[in-house]
């Protein structure tokens, strides 16, 4: 790398500066000075070139104090760097100048601090930087600064093959205690499978023995383990702490500004991006905590095709992705994957463990350091940024149809200090994505914090929590029905985690979730005085629960609690009763088919508790007694009220008050029906509907009003034929919940 090759454009400028030097010696001559001024003006056109020329030629040991020339040039380059970024050659020169320590380390670190590349960092410059690092001349802070710079600019290094070639040299710095975290991070980004060698693993284990289980060492070892599981026998904790910190604080603002400028120049092909991609902000933003990095930013166009790795951002279509599937090189900032649909496709089909490990690490860091424990800053900008980030995460998880484990860890922490309002839609959405939680700690991490929030918040929050839990249950069940078919009973919960779960464990967790929602809904309805909206969300949950056996082939039957059943049965809106009818219908279908299967297969695994049948029968009796038989409040209907008390209400015919005619929810239908039957009658006598055919007609009339759930319920549970026989008394007997009764237990 000769100077001439780097700076072809400097030849002219060099001549000028030589003349300049000679003329400078004679200051007193005024005419010369004027001539010099004129020359200066000419040179001002290429001041940066001059400055770079100076830095490439300046000798070691040039005095620093009072060296205005140096400071002038330094300022010039700094200004240029912060405004536009430096061209690749300029980066090379300045890095060389800083690393060779030709001035003091104060100057070197100043240079490093403003060394912002405009497009790319030449790989050779970084390699030379490392060779200077090997000289051990630099002071420790400068060494660290250099490493931080390399880490921050990693995405902009034009290619990494030569860096990978000196992997061994870089690895050798790992023994230095102050540099170790940074070196580990760099190695983490560079490591390929061929780099994992037994002696390196031994060295790392040795250092770990000395320094303790440092997260950065653990992360690197985890990556090694992914590549060569046979070499690393260490067991990794399943939930690892975020290993590496972001080191880009020094350059964060400048880089973000630069990135923004470059983004606005580019034209995106919008077809393959996810919906929530943010449009570049017009306003200048101060913090970029939660900005998802662009997919390996702005460069690589110069990249030659001879290299074996292909970067994701080079690909523009799905077909190209398929062609290059085996030679994809992952970007350094794994977060950039989130914003690219193509990258997500790649992640989804390749199931690359190291990619997931790195993505999880990046995400965990972003969520914890920047959002959870980040500076509390109420500005709408940072809130919007966080909201956007979380939305992006939500859509990514939906795309992949699974939650990241780092999101899960973050949610558990965040739930314990959530105010129930901050980013509510996104948080609940993310919460519904979490994979199955083992029943041993589901209470601690999920139920307790949620319960405290749920009961102290408004009814709308309660509704959204129930909705979230419904969706969570559905996702668990779907996952189960897919996995169970594939792998039989021994289900490994998540092929990327060490956790595996047996069917009974799964049942246990689901049972706990259903019971938990049962508590939430019944106490919630009591607190909110049977709020209709909450009731509907609760019924929505039980629609899923009632169908678990038939729809998701999960042999689990949990009845809805009385705290939901009776408010729904006595609700003032007909839709609740209709949905309740549908739920009871589905319960019946599920129980019946389970019983049949039980008889057929005599499998021990399918065991249904007698109490479920008993509960179901109680509800069935209550429902039929109330709606059909006009026997409200009579014994064995679930609600028993002493007659003396009922007398005091002064309702004349209280036992009828909740049948299909007098039920407050159906009253207006009854009146409507009455008017249509007897348009000429002025006095309304609803009891006349009960007589003879009118009753049948009325029921048919109700069915035409869209009460499909009710129709299913009645058709299955009530013997219509017997209704036709008895006149005046619509139905004496519901088809006694004959089949799924407690009497007929599986053993019989």
């Amino acid at each position: 790398m000769t100077e001439a090759s780097i700076l072809p454009g400097l030849a002219g400028a060099a001549d000028c500066s030589n003349e300049n030097d000679s003329s400078c010696s004679d200051i007193s001559n005024k005419s010369l000075r004027i001539a010099e001024n004129a020359k200066k003006k000419r040179q001002a056109e290429a001041p940066l070139l001059l400055a770079l020329k100076y830095f490439s030629q300046v000798k070691t040991g040039t005095p620093r104090n009072g060296n205005d020339e140096l400071y002038g040039y330094l300022e010039q380059v700094e200004r240029e760097a912060l405004a536009q970024g430096l061209a690749p050659e300029a980066v090379s020169i300045m890095l060389e100048f800083a690393m060779s320590l030709r001035m003091t380390s104060a100057i070197s670190s100043r240079v490093l601090r403003f060394l912002i590349p405009a497009s790319v960092v030449p790989q050779e410059a970084v390699v030379r930087g490392f060779s200077w690092l090997c000289m051990q001349k630099l002071s420790q802070p400068t060494q660290v600064l250099f490493l931080r710079w390399v880490l921050s600019m990693f995405d902009m290094i034009d290619s990494k093959d030569n860096l990978r070639a000196i992997y061994g040299f870089i690895f050798s710095f790992v023994i230095d205690e102050t540099m170790c975290p940074f070196i580990c991070h760099l190695l983490y980004l560079l490591t390929l499978k061929e780099h994992v060698k037994p002696f390196r693993v031994r060295k790392l284990l040795d250092i770990q023995g000395r320094m303790g289980k440092q997260p950065f060492l653990m992360q690197l070892l985890a990556l090694y383990k992914v590549f060569c599981p046979e070499m690393v026998t260490l067991t990794m904790p399943s939930k690892m702490k975020a290993g590496f910190k972001n080191h880009n604080s020094t350059w964060k603002v400048a880089l973000a500004a630069l990135r923004k400028r470059n983004i606005s120049k580019e034209t995106h092909s919008m077809e393959l991006t996810l919906g929530v991609r943010q449009h570049p902000h017009r306003r200048k933003r101060k913090f970029h905590h939660l900005l998802v990095p662009a997919l390996t930013p702005m460069m690589e166009s110069s990249r030659s095709n001879s290299r074996k790795g292909v970067c994701l951002q080079q690909l523009s279509s799905f077909a190209e992705l398929l062609d290059n599937l085996n030679s994809i090189e992952l970007p350094a900032q794994m977060g950039s994957l989130l914003s690219s649909a193509l990258a997500l496709h790649y992640l989804d089909c390749v199931q690359d463990e190291s990619a997931f490990l790195r993505l999880n690490f990046w995400l965990g860091h972003a969520l914890h350091e920047e959002f959870l424990f980040g500076p509390v800053d109420g500005s709408s900008e940072s809130m919007g940024e966080a909201a956007h980030f979380l939305s992006m995460l939500v859509s990514t998880q939906h795309f992949l149809q699974e939650g990241f484990s780092s999101t899960e860890g973050f949610l558990y922490k965040f739930l314990t200090m959530w105010d129930g309002f901050l980013h509510r839609p996104q948080i609940l959405e993310l919460l519904s994505d979490i994979p199955l939680v083992p029943s041993s700690y589901i209470k601690d991490v999920l139920f307790e914090p949620l319960m405290q929030l749920y009961f102290t918040s408004s009814v709308f929050f309660k509704c959204s929590v129930i909705e979230c839990l419904t969706s969570m249950l559905r996702k668990w069940l779907t996952w189960h029905s897919v996995c169970a078919q594939e792998e039989g009973l021994d289900i490994s919960l998540n092929n990327r985690s060490t956790m595996s779960l047996s069917l009974s464990g799964f049942l246990d967790s689901v049972l706990k979730l259903v019971q938990f929602v049962g508590r939430l809904t019944s106490v919630g309805l009591q607190l909110e005085r049977g709020h209709t909206l909450l009731l509907h969300h609760a019924l929505g949950f039980y629609e899923t629960v009632s169908d678990m056996f038939l729809k998701y082939s999960l042999p689990l039957f949990v009845m809805l609690p009385p705290g939901v059943f009776f408010p729904a049965l006595l609700a003032t809106d007909p839709v609740s009763i209709d949905r309740l009818g549908y739920i009871m219908f589905r319960y019946r279908q599920n129980l019946t088919s389970a019983k049949e299967q039980q008889k057929k297969q005599r499998e021990l695994s399918l065991h249904i508790n007698r109490s479920v049948y008993k509960e179901f029968n109680t509800y069935l009796v209550a429902m039929v007694a109330h709606l059909w038989n006009s026997k409200s409040f009579s014994p064995r209907t679930g609600i028993e009220v002493s007659e003396a008390l009922l007398e005091r209400t002064k309702v004349a015919d209280y036992s009828k008050s909740f049948d299909l005619i007098h039920h407050p929810a159906f009253l207006n239908y009854a009146i409507d029906f009455h008017q249509q039957c007897w348009p000429e009658r002025t006095d309304v006598d609803l009891n006349s509907i009960k007589v003879g055919k009118y009753w049948e007609w009325y029921v048919e009339f109700l069915f035409t009003q869209g009460f499909d759930g009710l129709r299913d319920f009645i058709k299955v549970n009530i013997n219509q034929a017997s209704a036709r026989q008895s006149i005046g008394q619509p139905l004496s007997q519901p088809t006694q919940p004959s089949q799924p009764t407690a009497v007929s237990s599986p053993s019989s």
Binding site: A44, D68, Y71, E75, Q76, R79
Partner: protein, 357 residues
């Protein structure tokens, strides 16, 4: 040791300054001064300085980078053949406009002579220059009158064989007919010289440290002269509407309202109201003995007084203290140690043990 150091320094300085010609000193001073002045203030200051021709001034482009601007200004000054005298004037202008760049120490003149009140500017100027010249050689003095009767004095100190060091000048600010002088950047070596000159020139008997210092000259001056909104202690409660925050809902009541009002009043009495002078620090040097339980033997040992320095620092100390008291962080009857900052106009206190007095 320090003497030796001084000598070494002076020799070095001597060598430096003799090796450069006058022009170079001026140029160094000019560059340093210009570097000190932020770009946004540069235009105004240059205009005030009025040593550049109108053409020159117009040709300056203040949106350019400072480094380029600086080069241009230096070349103009070279063209105009300006000397140290001119350049130090520029520095003085900037300093007078921005008096908050150094730490100002207040001094108190006492024992005024009879004719001290009739002193006029010309007389003072003459007296000051001649007295200081008598005491030491190679001093460069520049005296300017700022608006409203304030005299600004810039002194560049030299020594017998050393030319005045313009890079570290001392600034003195004095209002005629007041007993206070404010001094910035004075070395202890030159302190007696300046004190004596001041005493003689202002026709006073003696001068002593007022134990007050701060970065904001106006604040220091206001505090000493009592030029701020003071609240005097009263026994009767002040009317409510004066103090209470904007009216809130009638259903909201503060249990500690009276306490809060009282605290607010106490804070105002101690530290003033509204815009209080900006002080940065208050320092307490304690020279006390440890008393009390004998559990801590090491402290009781030897009956020797032990010294501690307690320093409160804030961007606006009085405001902070005010807030501390009004919000109840500090106890309500303000300690006289704190309240005497405003009452006595001091921010340096030595606290000695009563028994030692």
């Amino acid at each position: 040791m320090s003497l030796l150091f001084n000598i070494v320094i002076s020799v070095v300085l001597y060598v430096c300054f003799t090796s450069l010609n006058m022009d170079d000193v001026a140029r160094t001073l000019l560059q340093r001064t210009l570097r000190k002045i932020p770009t946004r203030k540069l235009e105004e200051t240059i205009k005030k300085w009025s040593h550049l021709s109108r053409r020159q001034q117009q040709s300056l482009n203040y949106t350019q980078s400072k480094w380029i601007l600086l080069q241009k200004l230096v070349s103009f000054c070279e063209d105009n053949e300006l000397t140290v005298r001119h350049v130090s004037e520029l520095e003085m202008i900037y300093c007078m406009e921005n008096p908050n760049l150094g730490t100002w120490k207040a001094c108190h003149l006492t024992d005024a002579e009879d004719d001290a009140t009739s002193l006029d500017l010309m007389c003072f100027k003459e007296q000051f220059k001649s007295h200081l010249a008598e005491l030491t050689r190679n001093v460069s003095i520049k005296i300017k009158k700022h608006e409203n009767e304030t005299i600004w004095i810039r002194i560049a100190w030299g020594e017998n064989f050393i030319k005045p060091n313009h890079l570290k000048p001392t600034y003195v600010v004095h209002d005629l007919q007041t007993p206070y002088v404010f001094i910035c950047n004075l070395s202890s070596k030159n302190k007696p010289l300046l004190y004596q000159t001041l005493v003689l020139a202002t026709k006073h008997g003696s001068i002593k440290d007022a134990h007050l210092s701060g970065r904001n000259l106006h604040a220091v001056r206001d505090l000493l002269m009592g030029n701020y909104h003071q609240t005097f202690p009263t026994n009767h409660q002040r009317p409510l509407e004066e103090m209470s925050p904007p009216p809130t809902h009638p259903n909201i009541e503060n249990e500690h309202k009276e306490h809060a009002e009282k605290r607010q009043q106490v804070a105002c009495e101690a530290f003033g109201e509204g815009k209080v002078p900006k002080l940065e620090t208050a320092t307490y040097t304690l020279e006390t003995r440890f008393r009390g339980g004998g559990s801590i033997d090491t402290l009781v040992d030897g009956e020797k007084p032990f010294r501690t320095v307690v320093q409160f620092a804030s961007t606006s100390l009085l405001e902070s203290l005010h807030h501390c008291v009004s919000s109840g962080i500090a106890d309500a009857p303000v300690s006289p140690l704190l309240s005497s900052i405003t009452q006595k106009g001091r921010n340096y206190f030595v606290i000695t043990d009563k028994a030692d007095r």
